[in-house]
């Protein structure tokens, strides 16, 4: 087999695609630029990454700026995590971690998503890697990503009716030996103590003292339709 020609961009800097010569290093400009776009800077956490909260409606424009603005140029989307806060409004939060290869800087951006309309704009056109990240967040927490071309479940079976990383989903799981599609959405739950030795109730210690990020009472949610 003949050897293929070298990639034109392979030997050069990955950031070469962004316009050359970034204007200024962005420690504070970063915060200023994002605040101007409507992001709210949150207090630092233990890992000292800059944290921002963005309104759901402003997120598409902020994401575009984060990716395309040469002063920001966050080329890589590292991680998308969906988090459930049963007692908070909005209930869900989608947490993005972005990495600028130009500046070697990581930031965290949080977008709140209400329970009534669990939908947030997809960033797949800016970072194609968001494809599976967003499918996973949809699968686990049930946040839908508007504009995602193929929002299917990825880790759980396609006809699985629940979103397991919601706080009201029991860790033991809910019996799924029947197909919910065939049973017309009727739930069949079973006793969950079959293979657990007796007396091993290890209720975790909760010192959160009424933090809004509290824990739910454990009632299972009603099943939703499996696919979007």
């Amino acid at each position: 087999m003949a050897d293929v020609p070298a990639n034109p961009s392979s030997s050069s800097n990955p950031a070469a695609a962004a316009p050359a010569a970034p204007v200024a290093p962005p420690p504070d400009p970063l915060i200023a630029a994002l605040t101007a776009l409507g992001a709210e800077a949150l207090p630092l956490t233990q890992d000292l990454l800059p944290v921002f909260r963005v309104e759901r409606d402003a997120w598409p424009s902020v994401a575009r700026a984060l990716r395309r603005d040469p002063q920001l140029s966050f080329e890589m989307l590292i991680d998308v995590a969906g988090v459930d806060f049963p007692k908070r409004r909005p209930r869900f939060e989608v947490v993005y971690h972005l990495w600028s290869l130009t500046w070697n800087k990581v930031i965290r951006v949080k977008v709140g998503v209400p329970e009534e309309d669990p939908q947030v704009a997809s960033v797949i056109d800016l970072w194609p890697t968001a494809d599976w990240h967003e499918r996973e967040a949809f699968d686990m927490v049930g946040v839908k990503f508007a504009g995602h071309p193929d929002l299917r479940r990825i880790l759980m079976p396609d006809d699985y009716p629940w979103h397991p990383l919601r706080k009201d989903f029991p860790v033991e799981g809910i019996d799924n030996s029947i197909s919910y599609v065939k049973a017309g959405g009727v739930l069949m739950t079973r006793e969950l103590d079959v293979d657990r030795p007796a007396g091993q109730d290890r209720t975790p210690v909760d010192r959160s003292h009424g933090d809004p990020a509290g824990y739910s009472d454990g009632t299972p949610t009603l099943p939703e339709e499996g696919r979007s």
Binding site: N13, N104, P197
Partner: protein
Amino acid sequence: MSPESAPVLPPPAAGAASAASAASGAPRFAAAVANPKVMRHALTTNEKLFVGPFLKSLLYTFSRMFKKDITRRYPEQKMENKPSLHGVPVLVMKEDGAPRCVACGLCEFVCPPRAIDIQPGETDRPIEREPKSFVIDMLRCIECSYCEEVCPEEAIVMSTDYEVVGRRREDFVWDLKKLLKPIAQLKDRIAWVRRTYRRWDSNADASAPPEGGVYRDPRWAGKSKPVDHH
């Protein structure tokens, strides 16, 4: 965690230094470090003909026949037992035949796969509490040694027995009778536990736990009488 708090190692080379400066926020760090490119050599005529390399690797494989055999023939030839080996956890039986365990439940709490089940009961011995039943499901146990590390009475230790077989699932549910091993058999491991979990305190009194809830703290020596709960 900061680089300053770390120990003295050979000073970083020029390449590493430029990487460190890049990490501090200098732009375009990906280009700032000179990375060696891996060599992609084209095939030589000899390699294209394939005969030479073929014979070379054949010769290499053939030469292995005369080298020392490193395979361990397992069932006949056992692994050498190191003191750090984690076999299945067992309970320590004192010379008088009683378990050291006081059924405090700490190992039951810490066991990640929840393999341990303890039913505590009372006893007339000075320790007042002992397990009425103590069951470890060896099919669940992952031999992590957390139970050994947390036990405050040195009552559960890892044995050297790593070959657990059975015909039915019940064979793997070990009860007190199967779990209790005479302390004489566990001497090596107990010594290892005392040495290791002494941690930073090389002066810690690493003697066996006292019987009967009697605490003899050297720091309190002479200040008050040892407390006996009886």
